[in-house]
Structures are given as structure tokens and as C-alpha cells.
């Protein structure tokens, strides 16, 4: 029974898992998590309505091309406007209240958005629960990728031209340098030869990225959203990183710790919370925009509560109040989810349409695999909270200060 585990199609499993690491799901989760990190990680605002902000972006793009019949580019300012207005509606009544009230109101408002756009009353504007469909063309026209082609991320793959090879190597280089910096911060804080350490870490990261890339490939259709989305994620990540190193970020962290103290020092806590809510929301709106552009459609039920909580989960997994955590968390979340799914499904097939040990069958039906996957995710989170509550990139020392 255990012998044929080795017969599993590991190449396919690896490809699918690693592709999920950088796939569309991880991408739009990462953008949403970067936004949520501003609100929850830095300012301590318990925003449970991130899906609402995402819906703002998705519907802005959908309505622009489909109903307003204006250029796709108008969708961006419209989405930002929606998000700002939504943030104001959310923030004005609640930001003076305690954190738990904000959580209740945000989750309710996000649901209000979803229920309004899927309602029969407004069907002529939003097309009810079917959503707005068939605007994939607009995004196809503004990106240079071919839907029929398969794209490989390995720089030296024969299907890649010289330009693509150079571009990929540069991007990998930047990722490796950043990863080296993160590793240096973690393992090389006290060392004297930090420059050398950084180079070693960056070099090792580069090799790892290169090996990973040789397994990763996407169909042209999702590839364009993936590329544009990750560029956006990098831009927003840098944006948040800059902000959090500035005195503005310091005020935000102060508010997270104790808003009365910050108020006594002459900062308008209310205004800073509003800024954080809106900045995080505007970032998240791009997440919804990217998802809808990838699918060429927008359905209200893609923006329900569970999206908010999955994004929150992914953020906590990576480590709140860290930009690296908000980007890597979603990657891991989808990577692990995808691995469990593919692995169990292959196992299911390999073992003759069942999974069981010692004669005890606990999966005898392929639809049960999905449930097991969900269960594994839950278990993983429980273990994470027990053994590493600060998340992967979070600061253990900071965590230890809680409740003192």
C-alpha cells in the first residue's frame, strides 16, 4: 500500500503546487492582504469587510466596459472612487468606536454590497447573481500575451525569447536580493560580515527561485493577470513598506498599541484610522479588479465573507505587520491548499478510488477529498497558532510582549 506512494505523479504534483504559489489566486489574495495589513497589521483595525472593497474594484471594471461602454482605463479611477466612498461610509460611523464594533459593521457592510449587487431589484444594473460576464476581451487587448500559448517561468526554456530570458533573470535577481535581505534580518542580525551573508543568502535564494521556476507554467489566459497582478503587488508592497518606515507609519503603529496615548500626544487618531482604512481599501480594490479581469466576469458570490476570512488567514499565516508576510502568506496559503488537493486526488486515484489505511477507508468518494483539504487547512492553522502565533515572518519578540 505504501509502496505505490512512490508511483504518484510527483512532477505533476510539483508543477501544480508551485504554479499555485504564484497563480491568480495567490496574486489577488496578496494584493488584498497587503491592503488588509495596513488596516489590521499596522493600524490594528479589525476590518472584516475586505471583500466589499474587492467587490468595488471588480464591479467598477465590469460596469465600465459592459454598461458605461467607456475605455477599460476608466475602470481604475472609478474603482478607486468606489473604494474611497465605501471606506468613508464604513469609517465615519465606526472609527470612533471600539475595535469589535468596527468588525461587526465592516462585515455587515461588505455583505450589504454583495446582497445589493445580486438582488433582483437592481438586476438591470448588476445582473443579479449571474454578475457581469464576457469582458475578457478588454484586458486581452491591453496586454501582449497570447491566450493559446503556454508560458514557462524558467528563463532558459526554449519557448522564451532573449528578451523574456533577460527580464525573468532580472526579476528573479530582485526577488533574490529582497529574499536575502529578509533572511539577513532573521539570521544575520548580529554578524559582522553582513555584506557577505547577504550575498550568500541572495545567491541561495536565486538558485531556489530558478529551480522552482523550472516547474512553473501557465496558460496564456491567466498569465497576463498573473504578471500584471504581481507587478501591482510589488508596487503596493513597496508603497506600504515606504509608508511604514515613515513617521506616518509610526503613528499608525502607535494607534494599534494605544490610541489614547497617541491622542494625548496630539495626533488625530480618527483621521489616521480613516486614512489607513481607505488606503488599505483602495489597495484591496485592485485585488478584486485583477480577479475580475482574469476571469473576464464578476459574480457577487466571489466576494462573500469567506474571501475576507481566507485573506485574513493568509495574512496571519505570513505574519501581520510585515510586508513580506502579506505577500508570502497568500502564496503559502494557496500553495499548501493546492498541494493537499492534488496530492490527495492523485492518491485517491492511485489507491483505486479510495484513501484508507489498515482497512479503514476514510475517503471513498472523490468529492470527499475537498472536505479533507479544508480540514487539513484548519488543522494547519491550529498548529500555526499553537507553535508560531506570529506567523512565518512575524516578530516573535513582539508577540511575546502581548498582554504585559
Amino acid at each position: 500500500m505504501f509502496a505505490n506512494i512512490l508511483d504518484l505523479p510527483f512532477d505533476a504534483i510539483l508543477t501544480q503546487t508551485l504554479s499555485a504559489f504564484f497563480g491568480v489566486n495567490a496574486m489577488y489574495f496578496a494584493i488584498a492582504a497587503i491592503g488588509l495589513n495596513v488596516q489590521f497589521g499596522y493600524a490594528g483595525l479589525l476590518n472584516f469587510g475586505q471583500a466589499g472593497f474587492m467587490a468595488c474594484g471588480a464591479y467598477a471594471v465590469g460596469m465600465t466596459t459592459h454598461y458605461f461602454d467607456i475605455s477599460f482605463w476608466w475602470g481604475i479611477p472609478i474603482a478607486v472612487t468606489y473604494a474611497v466612498v465605501f471606506g468613508l461610509i464604513m469609517g465615519i460611523p465606526t472609527l470612533r468606536l471600539r475595535a469589535d464594533y468596527l468588525a461587526i459593521v465592516t462585515i455587515a457592510l461588505a455583505e450589504v454590497i454583495r446582497l445589493v449587487v445580486r438582488s433582483v431589484t437592481f438586476k438591470k444594473y448588476f445582473n443579479g447573481s449571474d454578475g457581469i460576464n464576457g469582458f475578457a476581451d478588454t484586458f486581452r487587448r491591453v496586454t501582449p500575451f497570447d491566450d493559446a500559448k503556454r508560458y514557462k517561468l524558467y528563463p532558459f526554456d526554449t519557448s522564451n525569447g532573449t528578451g523574456a530570458t533577460v527580464l525573468l533573470l532580472v526579476v528573479f535577481g530582485v526577488i533574490a536580493v529582497l529574499a536575502g535581505r529578509v533572511l539577513l534580518g532573521r539570521f544575520g542580525r548580529e554578524r559582522s560580515n553582513r555584506g557577505v551573508m547577504w550575498a550568500v543568502f541572495a545567491g541561495a535564494s536565486f538558485l531556489v527561485v530558478l529551480v522552482i521556476s523550472s516547474y512553473v507554467e501557465y496558460g496564456g489566459q491567466s498569465f497576463k493577470a498573473i504578471i500584471v497582478g504581481w507587478i501591482l503587488a510589488a508596487v503596493f508592497g513597496a508603497f506600504v513598506f515606504m509608508l511604514m518606515r515613515s513617521p506616518w507609519g509610526r503613528v499608525l503603529k502607535g494607534i494599534r498599541e494605544d490610541e489614547e496615548a497617541v491622542r494625548s500626544l496630539g495626533k488625530s487618531v480618527y483621521s489616521y484610522k480613516m486614512q489607513a482604512l481607505i488606503i488599505g481599501g483602495v489597495i484591496a480594490t485592485f485585488s478584486g479588479m485583477m480577479l475580475s479581469l482574469d476571469r473576464g466576469s464578476v459574480q457577487p458570490d466571489n466576494y462573500s465573507r469567506d474571501v475576507t476570512f481566507y485573506v485574513l488567514t493568509a495574512l496571519v499565516l505570513g505574519g501581520a505587520a510585515k510586508v513580506s508576510g502579506s505577500i508570502v502568506g497568500p502564496m503559502l496559503f494557496w500553495g499548501i491548499l493546492s498541494f493537499t488537493d492534488v496530492f490527495l486526488n492523485s492518491l485517491f486515484k492511485e489507491w483505486g478510488n479510495q484513501i484508507g489505511i489498515f482497512g479503514w477507508k476514510f475517503v471513498s468518494n472523490s468529492s470527499q477529498v475537498g472536505m479533507i483539504v479544508q480540514g487539513m487547512i484548519g488543522l494547519m492553522l491550529v498548529l500555526l497558532m499553537v507553535f508560531r502565533p506570529q506567523g512565518l515572518f512575524g516578530n516573535r519578540k513582539e508577540m511575546a510582549l502581548d498582554g504585559r
Partner: protein, 302 residues
């Protein structure tokens, strides 16, 4: 009883001999002020008139008139539940009175939000110390500075617009940390500080706002005797630098030692005012605050 008042007098004399210049000025200005509740001061920095605040049926603060003399150290004392902290909250905008007017430097604070008072030169600390635990001590300090360009988010993205200011702020923060003997903890998380160190941090962070009036809510609570001595010196140092100090305290020795003027509250009202010596012999105060059995052993009643 006689012996004790004798002791207090001699102690007072000893202290007067080593009074600093500013202390002498502050006390001289208050010499002609009658020791009665709500009396007018020659140069008030803060004035509150007919300020009332009730929570449900309980009137927490009911102050007809109180003035705080500029450049002095004023103590606000009173039994637990007298409304001292509520009074602090009302003056600094953390709570709003039901009725009344109150002003700082002659400017009414009626419509002024809590966060604006710091910019006007009025800063407070809290009874339960509020150190920002997950931030380093130096970050705590730098947060205190007012008018930072980089605290606008669009400027935050442009480091060249705030790095020079940031350096100046950091230098000032380091200076204050050295003065309060916290410089060795500079880069530690504020959450790792002891209770007394947190009190020091909170006070020095408040000073980062360049205040004219510092309002300290029980600065000595939970602080060991040795640290109390240096805190005393620090508070006196604030007056030497031209600041006005208003503080809530229960430690009568400390009140006697450092304050130029004492205001006594009980059940929301101001029941007495005067110099420390006048207050410690005031029967109304002894009755309300020290208790009519003061000086007797706790066991005597049995």
C-alpha cells in the same frame, strides 16, 4: 500632634533654604493668594469655571472655579473617587463636561478636540501607564514630537521631506532619554521596561511635545522610593525650564516636598486650596482626605 506639626515646620524650613530660584519665584507669586477654594491666581495658565460632569446619577466633577498658576507646581489631591482623573479628562478633551467653560492660556477649550490640546502646549499622562509596548523606546519618544512633516502619508513616501526633521527629533529624544536615564534602553521594546521605567518613558514622551503645561496623573504610583526621589527632581526640573506642572498624587510627603500650591478635591468639589503647609493644617482636608483618625494607629479604633 504638636510634635508632628513641629517636625513638619522644621522640615519646611530646611527645604526653603535649598529652594531653587524658580521655586522661590513661584512661591513668592502665590504668597498673597488667599488659601480658599476657587481663589484667583495672579497669572493663571488654566482656568475652569462651573465645570460639571455627571455619570448617571453620580456627579463626578462639580468645580465652581479653579485656576492653575503659571510656572508653578500644583498638586491635585483627594481621596479615591474624588474626581481628579475625571477632571484631568475634562480639561484635556478626553471627556466633555455637561456644563461649564474652561480655558488654556486665555483660549477657550470648549470646542477643542483632545488631540489638539497637545499642539497648544498642554500634555497629559495617564494613571495607568500607556507605553506603546510593541514599539521601541526611541520610537515611543519620536512619536511624541508634534508638527512632523512625515506624519502626512503623502510626505511619508518622500523621505527627503522629513529625514532632516527626523534627525533633529531623534537628537532631542536621545537628550531626554539621557536625562531620564533611559538611554540604555533606547532600542528595547517599551514592553520590556519595568513599571517605573514606563512612568519615566511616558513623562519624557510627553515632554517631546514641548508643552507649557504638563499634567501628570499619579506619576509616583508603583514607583520605588529611590526612583521617586529622582522623579521628584525631574518634576522640579520641569518648573526650572519654565513649564507649569499639575499633578495628581496620594503620596503626601512628595506633595509637601515639591508642590508650590495644593488643590484638594473631594466628592467632585474643590474643598480647599493653599500652600502645602496651609493644607496640611486645614481641618476640612484632614477630615475629608487624611481622615479624622489621622496619626492614630490603625488598631486604636478596635
Amino acid at each position: 500632634m504638636d510634635d508632628e506639626s513641629m517636625d513638619a515646620e522644621t522640615a519646611g524650613e530646611v527645604m526653603t533654604t535649598k529652594l531653587s530660584e524658580t521655586a522661590r519665584v513661584a512661591r513668592a507669586a502665590l504668597v498673597d493668594v488667599a488659601p480658599e477654594p476657587g481663589v484667583s491666581k495672579p497669572d493663571p495658565i488654566m482656568t475652569a469655571v462651573a465645570v460639571r460632569r455627571s455619570f448617571g446619577g453620580i456627579t463626578a466633577v462639580d468645580v465652581d472655579r479653579v485656576e492653575i498658576q503659571r510656572g508653578s507646581i500644583t498638586a491635585l489631591i483627594g481621596p479615591n473617587g474624588a474626581g481628579k482623573t475625571t477632571f484631568f479628562n475634562l480639561m484635556t478633551g478626553f471627556d466633555t463636561p455637561d456644563t461649564g467653560t474652561w480655558a488654556f492660556n486665555g483660549q477657550s477649550l470648549e470646542k477643542v478636540a483632545a488631540h489638539k490640546t497637545a499642539g497648544m502646549g498642554m500634555v497629559r499622562t495617564f494613571q495607568l501607564t500607556k507605553s506603546l509596548t510593541k514599539m521601541s523606546v526611541i520610537e515611543n519618544m519620536k512619536l511624541g514630537a508634534t508638527g512632523q512633516t512625515g506624519e502626512k502619508w503623502w510626505n511619508g513616501l518622500l523621505p527627503f521631506r522629513w529625514t532632516a526633521q527626523e534627525k533633529a527629533i531623534e537628537a532631542r529624544a536621545d537628550e531626554l532619554l539621557a536625562r531620564f536615564k533611559l538611554d540604555h534602553m533606547r532600542d528595547e521594546y517599551a514592553g520590556t521596561l519595568s513599571g517605573g521605567q514606563r512612568k519615566l518613558l511616558e513623562m519624557s514622551r510627553a515632554l517631546m511635545t514641548n508643552p507649557q503645561l504638563v499634567m501628570l496623573d499619579e506619576p509616583m504610583a508603583g514607583v520605588n522610593p529611590a526612583l521617586k526621589q529622582s522623579l521628584n527632581q525631574h518634576i522640579k526640573g520641569l518648573r526650572d525650564e519654565g513649564m507649569t506642572v499639575l499633578f495628581v498624587e496620594h503620596d503626601m510627603d512628595m506633595v509637601h516636598d515639591i508642590s508650590d500650591w495644593v488643590i484638594v478635591m473631594a466628592e467632585g468639589r474643590i474643598i480647599a486650596e493653599g500652600t502645602p503647609d496651609q493644607i496640611s493644617s486645614n481641618p476640612a482636608v484632614i477630615d475629608a482626605y487624611l481622615g479624622s483618625h489621622q496619626g492614630k494607629s490603625l488598631l486604636e479604633d478596635l
